[in-house]
Amino acid sequence: MKLGMKHRTYGQQKALWGFIYVLPWLLGFLLFFLVPLITSLRYSLSNIEAKSDGIKITYIGFENFINALTVNTSFNRTLTDSIVNVVVNVPLIVIFSLFLAVLLNQKFVGRALARSIFFLPVILASGVIANLEMNSLVQELVQQSASGGSSSGIGTFEMERFMLQAGVSENIVLYLTGAVDRIYTIVSQSGVQILIFLAGIQTISPQLYEASKMEGATGYEAFWKITLPMVSPLILVNVIYTIVDSFSSSQMTELIKTTGFNNFDFGLSSAMAWLYFIAIMIILSISTYIISKRVFYQD
């Protein structure tokens, strides 16, 4: 009886070790996630005054939220901007990365080189570098002199007219030409997604393709009937990843940070962060709901 350790069953021992292994994460989760999350909720519902002897927190109800939505000049605009951005970009990024993954999965000369180029954005398009790149003056100067002084949108303008005359709906045309103009943003944000899709495509068993080829399916049909259903769970994964990723690099983050650290309005800043979180959650759950109904699972 004294040797309690020895008398544990195999399952109990594993459970004990499991808990020990999770412990570091659990500590971090409590200390750096759960407690701050609750504190942030409390801050968002109170007025915070920083004084020499510490901070004074008084409960004021939903005033901060109302303040953010009705009084603050930039919150509504930034929030709608970033939501519109996500709604516009996410389908493009997912479709584009699926297309590229299919392309990069085929055999051709220089595939290894092409692959390593396409994953380069994973390294380059994060954090400050992407931010600084956007306002590079020299880049614009060179672009201007390269295209003969005219604006760079001229190429898509021609295409736009052409497509409108061909009778394509105006909204679709604007969406597509906008996508062409934003090609760099889209390419640079789809590195990880291409990787995930590529990995998924490679797990599809080649027998399926062989069988369909025997039955006379073209490559086009094989894509819609085999590749797409087989990677559909990953479409869900990628949509979620893209939404989370594009939200974490949006203007909103900057606004929340300046409100908190430059204006020292911690209450308002927390309220903004919570509204932002709720917005993300709504978009995530809507898109998950729509996609997960169409996802094909093996079992």
Binding site: F108, G127, Q139, V142, V244
Partner: protein, 316 residues
């Protein structure tokens, strides 16, 4: 006859498709590489070439001037060492703690581990902005639920502007995007056959030995993926770094304050020196210098990188 014609149409189609593919891939590769090439072209240009109408990409006068300026303003070598040590440290600690947690969530189930894993998913979904301010306050008066004041005699310590926030968060698997890494590890460990593990148990290995001698060597693809992602993201991260560190020289910090430092430095010189295009030129050089180490590392590990994620089983 008919067969031959059919064959030729097939081969025509294939040839056409490979041309289309080539154009697409070459074009998109160009889109990706263009900013880098352009930065290189800007960086080796002399200042006089900036307004020369005949110079667009290939400079007329080559010069290392921009590099020298950017290096001196960014305090490049010191910054490089600092960033490298910071990233390496957080990467190693994060990988270790996430591997432990991932293994436990995959194989060592206990009561409530499902609920805790939901917590992991939650950490992926909640934007870091939401919890930024409380974390900041927490680190500023770090008391560890009232333990630290007991040791130091009633005073909480200020952990900001040191490497401690990074050490603590990565040691406890809650640093930048750690939820994602735990997820990757869990998926991977779930993919390793149970028999391998059971064989080890039957041979008398404990949980610890099984994990370190059997499971970890099998999980090298996942480890490489996590190490790479975590290193790169830590290197580029400005969100947490600007919050935790205020005065230390780290690459992302130096980059974000480069425009400011640049204007201060040029202010002291001749008035005409302060030219927005010239500043942008040095700034581009700075970006190039900051990503250069990453690109060099990437060149060495890219093959492994691409292959490893295919084998991590995020997919399966």
């Amino acid at each position: 006859m008919i067969l031959a014609r059919l064959l030729s149409i097939e081969s025509w189609k294939r040839g056409l498709w490979s041309i289309v593919r080539l154009v697409l891939i070459a074009g998109l590769s160009f889109v990706i590489l263009y900013p880098i090439l352009q930065k290189i072209s800007t960086a080796i240009k002399d200042k006089s070439d900036l307004y020369s109408p005949i110079v667009i990409y290939v400079p007329e006068h080559y010069s290392w001037d921009n590099f020298k300026k950017a290096i001196s303003i960014m305090d490049y070598w010191q910054t490089l060492i600092n960033t490298f040590s910071l990233s390496t440290m957080t990467t190693l600690l994060t990988a270790a703690s996430c591997a432990l947690a991932g293994y436990a969530f995959a194989r060592l189930k206990f009561k409530g581990s499902g609920l805790l894993f939901f917590g992991v998913v939650l950490t992926i979904l909640v934007p870091p902005t939401t919890i930024l301010i409380p974390i900041y306050m927490n680190l500023k008066d770090f008391s560890l639920l009232g333990l630290v004041p007991l040791l130091t005699g009633g005073k909480s310590i200020n952990l900001l502007d040191s490497y401690w926030p990074f050490v603590l968060t990565s040691l406890t698997a809650s640093s930048l995007k750690a939820g994602l890494y735990i997820f990757i590890f869990r998926q991977f460990f779930r993919g390793i056959p149970k028999e391998v593990e059971e064989a080890a148990y039957i041979d008398g290995a404990g949980v610890g030995t099984t994990f370190s001698r059997i499971m970890l060597p099998n999980a090298i693809p996942a480890i490489v993926t996590v190490l790479l992602f975590s290193f790169v993201w830590q290197w580029n991260d400005s969100f947490f770094t600007t919050t935790y560190l205020t005065s230390s020289n780290v690459m992302s910090l130096q980059l974000s304050s480069l425009p400011h430092n640049l204007s201060i430095m040029l202010e002291g010189g001749v008035a005409t020196n302060k030219d927005p295009f010239y500043m942008s030129m040095v700034q581009d050089t700075g970006i190039l210098l900051a990503i250069l180490p990453l690109v060099i590392i990437y060149l060495f590990v890219q093959r492994y990188f691409v292959e490893s994620i295919e084998r991590t089983g995020i997919v399966g």
